[in-house]
């Protein structure tokens, strides 16, 4: 499912003294099956942008094209509902959306809303809870008895069970411990590869972007500053510093090493790749 954003302008509280232009004449597109990261300093319009991609917000001007569905200023609820079937969204602190008596029922909520039967919804819920490593004996428990990290997994399963073709995640790891952080990030990568869906990740963690994303969109002040391959944008130290973003640790390390005369072939994208690159370099250069 391809998403195209064309001339999107988004104004909060239009025609009031609180009026605020969050996105200004924004044009970009998201290809199917790729892993995108949307980055930019706080207030740059990231959350606003992604809420337009599944119809939670409608354009003040411009259009958002999701497959063959068009979202405009006055699009009907029926179309928006269709869009939500295709584009799933995991919000920051998704555990705040839990409400049902049991974990299983809560995960079934989305699929049921999409018009599946009880049996189908239950099968889906079981499938995705298992995928997230929730043991079957826990299905009947209340979601409110769990720890924050576990609740988040249930909430994520609730979105995955809707089997969207595009999955948008807004700062999914905020407030998680390091282990859960890695688990959650690995999970998104895995479902992107296994089910060939598009992932759009909003985050402030440049290490995650560098490790997982194929493409990056850099926002500032409601405008698209740059878009392109991750290795091109996240290795541009000046660009990142200018927009108040961290430089990924690996990029920094590789650049430091270059200054000391240790020059790798390509840019390794994660710790394992870094170690391999270093071994190769040593094999060639060390006597």
């Amino acid at each position: 499912m391809k998403i195209t954003v064309d001339g999107l302008t988004s104004i909060y509280h239009n025609n009031t003294p609180f009026e605020h232009t969050a996105l200004n004449n924004f044009t970009t597109s998201f290809e199917p099956g790729k892993y995108y990261a949307v980055i930019g300093r706080t207030g740059s319009g990231k959350s606003t942008l992604i809420q337009h991609l599944n119809g939670l917000l409608l354009p003040t001007r411009g259009i958002v094209q999701v497959g063959d569905l068009t979202l405009k200023h006055r699009t009907k609820q029926r179309i928006i509902h269709q869009v939500k079937k295709h584009v799933g969204m995991v919000f920051q602190f998704p555990e705040h959306q839990l409400f049902d008596e049991t974990i299983l029922k809560d995960v079934m909520f989305g699929p049921l809303n999409m018009g599946l039967t009880e049996e189908e919804a239950e099968a889906r819920a079981e499938k995705y809870l298992s995928l997230l490593g929730v043991p079957e004996r826990a299905f009947g428990r209340s979601p409110f008895d769990l720890s924050g990290g576990q609740m988040r997994k249930i909430a994520i399963a609730g979105i995955l069970a809707m089997e969207p073709e595009v999955l948008i995640v807004d700062e999914p790891t905020a407030g998680l411990d390091p282990k859960s952080h890695i688990e959650v990030m690995d999970l998104f990568k895995q479902i992107q590869e296994d089910f060939n869906i598009t992932i759009i990740l909003v985050t402030h963690d440049m290490n995650d972007v560098f490790e997982y994303a194929d493409e990056v969109k850099l926002l500032a002040g409601g405008q698209l500053i740059r878009e392109g391959r991750t290795e091109d944008i996240l290795t541009d130290e000046k660009l990142l510093t200018d927009h108040h973003l961290e430089i990924p640790d690996i990029v920094r390390l590789v650049h430091d090493l270059e200054r000391k005369g240790v020059v790798f072939e390509g840019m390794p994208r994660n710790t394992d790749a870094f170690i391999t690159s270093y071994r190769e370099w040593r094999a060639l250069h060390a006597q």
Binding site: F18, N54, L56, Q77, H81, F99, N113
Partner: protein
């Protein structure tokens, strides 16, 4: 949707009205509530509307914006208007059809009462638009000080009001977030039949209550660990200062009241 609602909202600004002592503003509003009832024919009502328009002007509030924000209350206004039109008898009969009869008296009273209501709404809205919630509660506590003599816990009341006011925007934000999260899961409380709409409220209210209770608990703990024990031994960080302009404001209001009283018929 909710964001258009103006009543109870504060917009920071720098007009004379904004800078008035909140006590002066509260007293003025109370006075105006009485004065509004002095008007009893068109001269009085005309003067009243002009005076209120003048205040809006001085407070630098956009007129269009103000009335747009009160649109939600339109229903109540129309209802009162119709009530008077149909049920007040007297004067000449303007219109008659079956058991429906409209008298000139009814039409006029309807208009007058509606103007009164609108002015009341506008006046109170101006108060909250130009006064921060903190100032409001400080003023309520100060103005209510005499009531402490008869064991009414004014400090606690003021504290409760200020905490509630403080949490209205937070709760609104929270509600909006939860609505978004659930509607991303395909929940449809905006469309569909009544029964399904009501059912769709459950996934919104339960998370909302849970987070509200959590917040209340955290807040209570945070206040306790910082040694809050109620009023005893507390001093104010913000002092309210009564200026000449506050006295002047009250005099203007009273003078207007006298004027309106004099033009009564």
């Amino acid at each position: 949707m909710l964001s258009n609602m103006l009543l109870g909202r504060y917009i920071p600004g720098d007009s004379v009205i904004h800078r008035l002592d909140p006590r002066a503003k509260i007293v003025s509003v109370l006075l105006m509530m009485v004065i509004i009832f002095f008007a009893n024919h068109w001269v009085g009502y005309g003067l009243l509307v002009l005076f209120v328009l003048g205040i809006i002007r001085v407070a630098q509030i956009n007129l269009f914006f103000l009335f747009n924000g009160l649109k939600i209350l339109l229903f109540i206004l129309i209802f009162t208007f119709l009530l008077h039109i149909f049920f007040t008898r007297g004067g000449t009969t303007l219109f008659e059809w079956g058991f429906i009869q409209i008298d000139s008296e009814g039409l006029i009273t309807g208009i007058y009462i509606t103007v009164r209501l609108v002015m009341l709404l506008v006046i109170t809205t101006i108060l909250t638009l130009t006064t921060s919630p903190i100032e409001l509660t400080d003023a309520i506590e100060k103005l209510g000080a005499p009531l402490k003599k008869i064991k009414i816990p004014m400090h606690e009341l003021a504290m409760m009001i200020s905490i509630s006011l403080r949490f209205i925007p937070t709760l609104m934000d929270e509600t909006e977030k939860i609505i978004k999260a659930q509607s991303a899961r395909g929940s449809t409380f905006m469309t569909g039949r009544l029964k399904s709409r009501i059912n769709a409220l459950i996934p919104i209210f339960i998370p909302l209550f849970i987070s509200a209770f959590k917040r209340a608990e955290e807040m209570a703990v945070a206040m306790e660990v910082r040694g809050y024990t109620g009023e005893a031994g507390r001093t104010s960080y913000r002092e309210l200062n009564w200026h000449l302009r506050d006295t002047a404001a009250l005099i203007v209001i009273i003078a207007f009241g006298v004027l309106l009283f004099l033009v009564r018929m």
